[in-house]
């Protein structure tokens, strides 16, 4: 490959907080939801960074903040070497040419009253760009490129299936040859056979145009298929980040282990003989996150230190960063771990019971 790689995205210490208002005639701010709480991300051309986490982890808010669809509370966003953090909507217009977005729901992301031709031509119109050969030819080329029949130029979105609509969204996003595309759950609404088609298309476009993808998804198998590097988020923070190979075969953070163990593998023999980490309960509220390490309330490795000190994201090996006081290798995991949620236990009637940390039950087989 002769494609020159360069840094397209550099995000430092990004924080996005949403105020929580009290009810009443004069609402007061009574708290903050720390949706994104200090994350750093870097992305080079032709590279895909997978951003994974459960709902409420802040991955979508992070994606939207990076394109300034939501304004950050703190931090710095550089796109193609330019600090765009404080840019006005008007000043952002030329930036949008370099950085585009693909949305989860191809039904809501397309204007139902516009023809496909008009939807895909929108970026040219908005940016005042006339490609060589004219807009219409460019649109027809794009339709062909993403696997749509150019004869359908005058059809409306409702005449297309979900997979085809996602192709329309992709054609629109790549129209101006952006350097960065933020993809927010681009295949999670699609059937598996269609999902594979779209993943292949995204990869082809990346190889052809050198696009960098920030790929936000909850499906760890999809993320493994498309990403070069992966960052795992939990309650607004990055817990672990590394190359794809390391995240999937040699993770160190207990949360990464828990997530991987929860994804069922489509192979009955393997699936039924895997070691399992069963997390009980749900994500804690981001309004009142746990002290110290935010994952400690569901963590099987948690000790006293975890409630006191926030573990910094430390580089353990080149490119492999982990935010954990007690990282653990896969080979040291017990065959089955059941993690009781200490928040839930604290709600039990006996409030005076001594806090013994998370109940770790390891029934030895």
């Amino acid at each position: 490959m002769t494609v020159e790689t360069s840094e397209i995205l550099n995000v430092t210490n990004l924080r996005t907080y949403f105020p929580v208002k009290s009810r009443g005639i004069i609402p007061r701010t009574i708290g903050q939801v720390k949706a994104v709480d200090g994350i750093d991300l870097k992305l080079a051309s032709s590279e895909t960074l997978g951003l994974v986490g459960e709902s409420g982890s802040g991955k979508t808010t992070a994606a939207r903040t990076i394109l300034l669809l939501v304004r950050p509370t703190e931090g710095r966003i550089e796109i193609d070497g330019q600090d765009v953090t404080g840019f006005s909507t008007k000043a952002l217009l030329p930036v949008r040419r370099k950085a585009q977005m693909i949305f989860q729901d191809p039904y809501n992301a397309l204007n139902p009253r516009h023809t496909v031709g008009s939807i895909i031509a929108a970026p040219f119109r908005v940016q005042g760009v006339t490609p060589p050969g004219g807009v219409k030819n460019a649109v027809l080329d794009l339709m062909e490129r993403v696997g749509l029949n150019p004869e359908h130029y005058n059809r409306y979105p409702n005449e297309f299936s979900g997979g085809q609509r996602q192709r329309i969204g992709i054609a629109r996003a790549v129209a101006l040859r952006p350097k960065l595309i933020v993809c927010d759950e681009p295949v999670s609404a699609l059937d598996v056979s269609i999902q594979a088609q779209i993943l292949n298309l995204l990869r082809d476009l990346q190889q052809e145009f050198g696009i960098a993808y920030l790929f936000v998804a909850h499906d760890l198998a999809v993320v493994k298929q498309i990403s070069h590097r992966v960052a795992v988020m939990y309650l607004g923070r990055i817990m672990e980040t590394a190359s794809r190979e390391v995240i999937y075969s040699a993770p160190l953070h207990p949360y990464t282990h828990s997530l991987l163990s929860a994804v069922p593998i489509p192979d009955p023999k393997r699936q039924r003989h895997r070691s399992r980490i069963v997390l009980q309960g749900d994500l804690p509220s981001p309004i009142d996150p746990p002290s110290g390490c935010v994952f400690r309330t569901r963590c099987f490795q948690a000790q006293e230190k975890c409630a006191i000190e926030v573990p910094p994201l430390v580089e353990i090996a080149p490119g492999h960063k982990v935010a954990c006081h007690f990282p653990i290798e896969a080979k040291d995991l017990p065959a089955r771990v059941e993690v009781e949620d200490i928040e839930l236990q604290e709600e039990a009637p006996a409030a005076g019971a001594p806090a013994t940390g998370p109940g770790l039950q390891t029934p030895h087989a």
């Binding site: 059937d191 598996v192 056979s193 594979a196 493994k224 069922p264 593998i265």
Partner: protein, 352 residues
């Protein structure tokens, strides 16, 4: 296949040539066309398919939830010696919630938003059994505790919106199992949940199934979930079962090209990532305008290997390849087994 004559050791559930068709302005939509299956007591059958495959409509028909005014339902559904399709509506109503229960993808839309969860379970108990409100409430609390709701005494008076998605699904399961139904139909029960919560719910369903001896039909699109919990699998496409086998056989020796296509489409977490996935080409057919021959032919890579273009003109039957392995395909058995071996070897042999 299925014997229609009376038999003493008839399976717990027998579906015979089930058809559900909806008349529309554009023509008759056969959402389910000739589905037959049997299921032994206490087993789990997974029905797998993509959107529009008819998997949910099949479940709704078994549950008696298909609107008879809007749809034409044909065939037979035998549950524990009773035939359900010809049964009067009020008798089906009596069975629903006591003998057969269902849990849905979205628990928020299946729970009444204005009633406390405890009261909703009490209602489910008292609709089928003459139990005093006080005893019913005690029973509800016991069941909620059993499905893993923490701080039950307080939560029993909560409204659905006060619970998380995983907790709501637990409440749904408690309500579904409160009258010890013999058959539980779970329609995409974990699709709306995070993976960690999904793992909890799947373990819960399996545990309760073991305790109560419930027979389970699991509707899903996720081949990982099927591998985790199912004893038997039926793969549906365009309203038909195209392959049916015990779970291990379906994953190790699939034969129908559509099943192969599904297995090659899903990215695998347990294997080195492939450079490219092998998707099934094209899109599912329109239910109004189905192909004349095999419904999968337009997307099939192998139809040209069948002589005389049979795939274009004749609908294949669901036939036994092995005694308990049924396949709907015109390809010769040895030919499709050879194709499957090649495809699976290619998937497994991906270089790191």
């Amino acid at each position: 296949m299925i014997s229609s004559g009376p038999s003493l050791d008839r399976p717990f559930l027998t579906v015979n040539n089930l058809g559900v068709a909806f008349p529309t302005e554009d023509g008759l939509v056969r959402a389910v066309d000739g589905v037959s299956l049997t299921l032994e007591r206490g087993k789990t059958l997974a029905i797998v398919g993509e959107s529009g495959s008819g998997k949910s409509v099949t479940a709704q028909a078994i549950m008696g939830l298909v609107n008879r005014k809007a749809a034409q339902v044909s065939g037979e559904i035998w549950l524990d010696g009773q035939e359900l399709i010809a049964m009067p509506e009020d008798e089906v109503q009596e069975l629903r919630g006591s003998e057969i229960a269902m849990i849905f993808q979205d628990p928020m839309s299946s729970l009444h938003p204005f009633y406390r969860i405890g009261d909703q379970i009490v209602e489910a108990i008292r609709a089928h059994r003459p139990v005093s409100p006080r005893l019913a409430k005690r029973e509800a609390i016991e069941m909620l505790r059993h499905v893993g709701i923490p701080a039950v005494e307080r939560r029993v008076d909560a409204y659905p919106h006060q619970l998380s998605g995983g907790m709501r699904q637990r409440v749904m399961i408690a309500m579904a199992l409160i009258n010890s139904p013999a058959l539980l139909i779970a329609d995409e029960p974990t699709t709306a949940l995070d993976v960690t919560v999904q793992a909890q719910i799947l373990e819960l369903i399996q545990r309760l199934q073991g305790e109560f001896g419930t027979t389970v039909i699991l509707i899903t699109h996720d081949l990982g979930i099927v591998a985790d919990v199912a004893d038997e699998v039926a793969v549906m496409y365009a309203g038909r079962i195209v392959e049916r086998a015990p779970t291990a056989i379906l994953y190790d020796h699939p034969e129908m090209p559509y099943t192969l296509g599904l297995l090659s489409s899903v990215p695998r977490m347990d294997r080195a990532a492939l450079e490219r996935l092998e998707p099934i080409r094209g899109n599912p057919p329109s239910p109004i305008n189905l192909p004349k021959g095999c419904v999968f032919q337009p997307r099939c890579n192998y139809w040209e290997r069948v002589p005389m273009g049979a795939c274009l003109s004749a609908r294949p039957e669901l036939l036994a390849s092995e005694p308990d392995h049924l396949v709907r395909c015109h390809l010769h058995v040895e030919e499709r087994q050879r194709i499957a071996r090649e495809v699976l070897a290619q998937l497994a042999g991906a270089p790191q």
